[in-house]
Structures are given as C-alpha cells and as structure tokens.
C-alpha cells in the first residue's frame, strides 16, 4: 500500500477578479522511502497542492479531492487531528530559510518546541535530540551553535537548521518546497544529497518541489512536471531526463544552461509567459508557447500512459502508450 495516495485533488481561490483554479485534477501516489520531485514554474500550483493537503491554504482557498495518508484521508481530518499529523508525521520545509525561522528565537527554542509539543519530551531531552539532529545535518559545533539566533547562521546553515527541524519528529513524509532555491550553487548539491541520505537511512518519503529540473537530477526517483495547474508529464528520473515526451518538459530541459556543452549563440528559451490562471486558454494550456502545436491542440489533450509507468498529457502520443480513458473522461466532465 502506498504511503500517500492523492486522487482528484483540486484547489481554487476566490479572488475579487474571479475564481482562480490553481490545481486541476491532481493524482499521484508515493511509496515509503520514495523521493518524488514536482517540477513547474511559479504559478503552476505545485506549492498550493501541498498546502491544501496539510490544510494550510489561505482563507480564500478551497480544496477538493482525496489524500489518503497511511489509511486516513487528510482532507477529512478535524483540525485537531491535523495538528497532530503536521510537524510530527508530515513535515514541510519552506522555501526561504531566512523568513521561515523566527528571528526572535534561538534555534534551540524553535527546535525543542516542536518535540516537546508532539512527543512530550522534557526540555533537556528535547535539547539533546535537537543537537543530535544538528549534527546529522552537519552543523559544526552543534552544542554551541544551537544557542544562536538565525541571523548568526549563513544561508546554507539556516536551511540545514530548517531541515533538522523538519526531521525532529522522524516524520514519514518530508515535503521540501524549493529547499535550495535561496542557496548558492556551491551548497545546493550538498543539501539535496543530505536530504536523500537522511531519507534512505530512515525510510522517510520525500517530496521535493522545484522550478529547476537540474537540482533534482541526482536525488529524484520519480518526477512530475506541472504546468498551469495540471500535471503534464510523469516518469522516473531516467525517463524524464533521457527521454522526455512532453514539449514542455523538453523545453525546460533545454533551457538549463549547461557548462558541459559548448557555448551556443543563443540560450534556448521557452517563448512567452505562463498563462493567467483567470483566463486559461481552452484546449492544451501550453499550446501558445509550444513549438509543436497544431490545430489538434485546440481540443483538451488526452493523457497517455505506458506500461513502465510514465504518462503525458499531450496530443503527441509517446511510443507504446495507451490513452488513460477514465481520467480523460473525468477531466473533461470537470472542465464543463
């Protein structure tokens, strides 16, 4: 049984300009110990989807669908039950370490608070546990540094403290939202690798959210590519990196500037901008920026699936793929 199974997830926001459909029909499952990367541009709905699952949406947000976590539907939970899941069984690391740590509190206070609340540890036990985790994320002199305030750490260390906080209660699932975007390239790979190692050691599942495919190349088992609130392609890391099917995935891969290739005259760019979620185009949402668009793209594209577990939402049929009838039918109904 998968650890987490999400079906038909939708997220909407009521705004003065109208209804914004941030996530449309999102399905995935995650096994124990698996690392899933969700890749997409800003506004593609990748973060909102996770927030919806943890009941952390902004007040004007509404979510529908099922998210069964270890046999229980997160979407049906009472706020109290949710509180005991958040931070202890599912932890989330937010994008900007500088703004997600409380500047008024030492990391000791911030870290011990979590375990004292969830596991009822005493202060000195909690402290010992926190120091242990700071060691695990390779903070030097953890006993000393735990007494410091966030501004006394470098950006990379703040992010490591955030990861340590996420791991305090040994969660079954860790969600990391752009964990390395605010960091220098020199520490990005270290942090990614660290999370991967920790997940292997504890059999923890990981969801990594990012806009840059390159940073998850080494750590992801499976990758989901999102565009304008929809999943456009899923596959294993090897499938996505070595044989992408969807033109958007291909474009994303091509726009990563690579130092291992010769310098070309112009960098590859995906033309245009992501669509406004208030005025989504009919048919394929990537149509206007797609180099392979045709008249067929005016219809909502079907979802293709292959036997080895990849899927693609595009009129172009990947080799050996069959149409996912059920999902395509359901999605068409929802679009009505």
């Amino acid at each position: 049984m998968p650890l987490l199974e999400v079906t038909g997830m939708e997220v909407e926001f009521e705004t003065p300009e109208g209804l914004v459909r941030a996530v449309n029909g999102f399905d995935f499952s995650l096994d124990k110990g698996e690392t899933l990367a969700i890749v997409g541009e800003s506004g593609s709905g990748k973060t909102q989807m996770m927030l919806a699952m943890l009941d952390l949406l902004a007040e004007n947000g509404r979510a529908r669908g099922r998210a069964v976590f270890d046999g229980e539907d997160l979407m049906q939970m009472t706020p109290k039950a949710m509180n005991s899941v958040r931070g202890s069984r599912i932890a989330m690391i937010f994008q900007d370490p500088m703004t997600s740590l409380n500047p008024y509190l030492t990391s000791e206070t911030q870290m011990t608070e979590v375990v004292m609340h969830h596991q009822g540890l005493k202060r000195d036990e909690a402290r010992a546990h926190a120091v242990e985790l700071l060691h695990a994320v390779r903070i030097p002199d953890a006993e000393e540094r735990i007494r410091q305030y966030p501004h006394e750490y470098s950006g990379g260390m703040q992010q490591r403290v955030m990861i340590a906080m996420g791991l305090l209660c040994e969660p079954d699932l860790l969600i990391a939202d752009e964990p390395t975007t605010a960091l220098d390239v020199t520490v990005q790979a270290q942090i990614m690798q660290l999370m991967r190692e920790l997940s292997e050691k504890t059999r923890m599942s990981l969801i990594m959210i990012t806009h840059d495919l390159a940073v998850v190349a080494e750590v992801a088992d499976r990758i989901m590519v999102m565009y304008a609130g929809e999943v456009v392609e899923t596959g294993t890391a090897d499938q996505i990196f070595y044989a992408p099917c969807h033109p958007y995935t291909q474009g994303l891969l091509a726009s990563v500037p690579r130092l291992d290739r010769l310098d070309t005259d112009d960098l590859h760019a995906i033309p245009g901008n992501p669509p406004n979620l208030l005025e989504l185009p009919d048919g394929c949402r990537f149509r206007e920026r797609c180099s392979q668009a045709s008249a067929a793209c005016l219809e909502r594209p079907p979802v293709w699936e292959t036997e080895d577990g990849r899927s693609s939402r595009c009129v172009l049929r990947p080799e050996g793929a069959v149409m996912r009838e059920k999902a395509a039918g359901a999605a068409a109904e929802e679009a009505e």
Binding site: S154, V185, T186, D212, E218, P257, R258, L259, D260, N273
Partner: protein, 336 residues
Amino acid sequence: MKKPVLRVQDLTVTFNSVTGNVFHRQERRNRAVDGISFELFAGETLGVVGESASGKSTLARAILGLIKPNRGRVMWLGENLTELDEESMRQRRKELQIVFQDPVASLDPRMTAGDIIAEPLWNFYPNMDRLQVDERTRGMMKMVGLLPNQINRYPHEFSSGQCQRIGIARALVLNPRLLICDEPVSALDVSIQAQVVNLLKDLQKKLGLALIFIAHDLSVVRHISDRVMVIYMGQAMEVSCKESLYRKPLHPYTNALIKSVPLPDPKLAAEARRENWLTGDMPSPFDRPRGCTFHDRCPYRVKRCEADVPALRKMEEGDWVACHRAEDLDLSIEEE
C-alpha cells in the same frame, strides 16, 4: 589603442559593526570589497560571479556611488566618480544605470508600467513634451518585448519575467552607456531566465552598452560575458576571458564553481558531485584567514598559501589570477 570607459582601481568598501555593550565596545571591520581593480570597454560585458556575501552587490553599489568606498577610484571616462559632489554624480547617473535582482520588489506597486519607465525621463528632463515621453516609453516597451498597449497596467498584472523587462526598460530609457545588472535572473524561473539573458545580450549589441552582469552561478554568465571576474570574500580571484575560463580555469575556486553547476542529467550530476571538493561555508568576514583567503577550503594549498597573500597577476594569455600555484596546476575541463 581603445581606451576603457570604466576603470576601477583598488576599490575597497569597509563596513563597521559595533558589538558588545557600553563598557565593552567592540568595533569590527568587514572589508566587503577588498582592493578590486578592473577595466571595462564600450560594448564589452564583464560577468561578476561569487557566492552570496562575496561582495558582488557592494561592488556594484560602490561603482554607482550608492555607497562611498573607503579607498580606491572609479574612473568613468577619465573622471573620478568618487570625488564628485552629489549634483554632478546625479547628472552622471544618466549614463550609469542598474537593474536589480528582485524584479517585483524593485517596482513601485502603485505606479503603472508606463509611469515606472518614464520616471527617469521626468526626473532628468522635466520639460520634456508629454507626447514625446509617451512615445519614448512605448518605444522602450517594444524594445524589451512588452506590448505598448500594456502601458497602463500595474506591476502585479505582469509575470515576474515581464516585471524584469520593465526594470530593464526603466534602466535603458535614458540611453545609458554603462548598465549594471545585479543578479537580474536569479529570481526568475529557469524557463524565463534564458529569455531575459538573450534580451540583455541583444540590447547590449544593439546599443553598444558596457555591461556588468552579476550572478552567483557561472552557467548563466557564460553566455553573455566577454570576460568573467570571480570574486571571493571581496577579492578578485580570477579575471579571464570567457574562452579560457570555462575550458581551463586558473584558480581552484573557479574550478570548484564550475563543478557546482547543477546538470540536468542524473549520471553526470552524480559524477560532478563526487569530483567537487568544495564544502563548508565561506569564513566569517570578520575573521579572515591569513594568507590566501581561500586557503582553508582549497585542496591544492601549500605552506606558502597560509602566510602570503597572492597578488592578482597577469598570466601569459592575458588572463589574471590570484593564486600562488597557477603555473603548476592544470585544471582543464573536458567538454562534450
């Protein structure tokens, strides 16, 4: 011989920080920019690369007179900018413009795109004809790839990539001769980064601008730069032309930065990480290592590096490096 438009000589900026209490006052000095010198010709692009807190933005601000340097000269067309009074400096700013890192935060949310782009015109030419300003604004919008009919829209109605285009139009509306771009793409999605880099490159060619392009990542600057300066703790480690820097870096730090660029390929990424020895953080700026500032992170260090500060010196090919061992190290990189 061609004369450089900008000549920066021994530029040094020091920040003081006071700690302790009334009785034990401790003043500490942080040399954010430490004796940087370089020349820039018209139509040339200099990439400036370094980790966060290496002094890249301080360097940009000191050149534009937004921060007073403690030492050194900024010679702009033969005139020392650091000695100018406020009004003369203000007049020079017509020629020296900057594009900031965060595209959304650097635009006033209550001004329309048109007002933002036209503001420098009103500022420097208060008597300019309204129609003329309007025409120039629309012209600029077209030049940076915005639609002139978006002139009355507000920043929140644009995507972040479009906001950065507005920032570029605002910087170019006065026909400057030097443009400094301080991490212009690091806040943008990968798929949009390439658009903005290509745009800046085209504009630079068309307008013959001298360009300083600051980034924390060597992969982004390769495409746009003629020469690249790598800085570490406020000091230039290497200044090389693009062709040699990426193929045969002279400084071990440059080599490490090249190895840290994430690759969208699981196998190559794993290989690059194993090869990359750069770990840990930059030392505290208040506690600089003796000798070469980089020696404690450098695997090639010898006794001498711990005692003598290496001077930036010219190598045979006309590239500059600050490393004692530049002659005997071969850091060549193979390309596909």
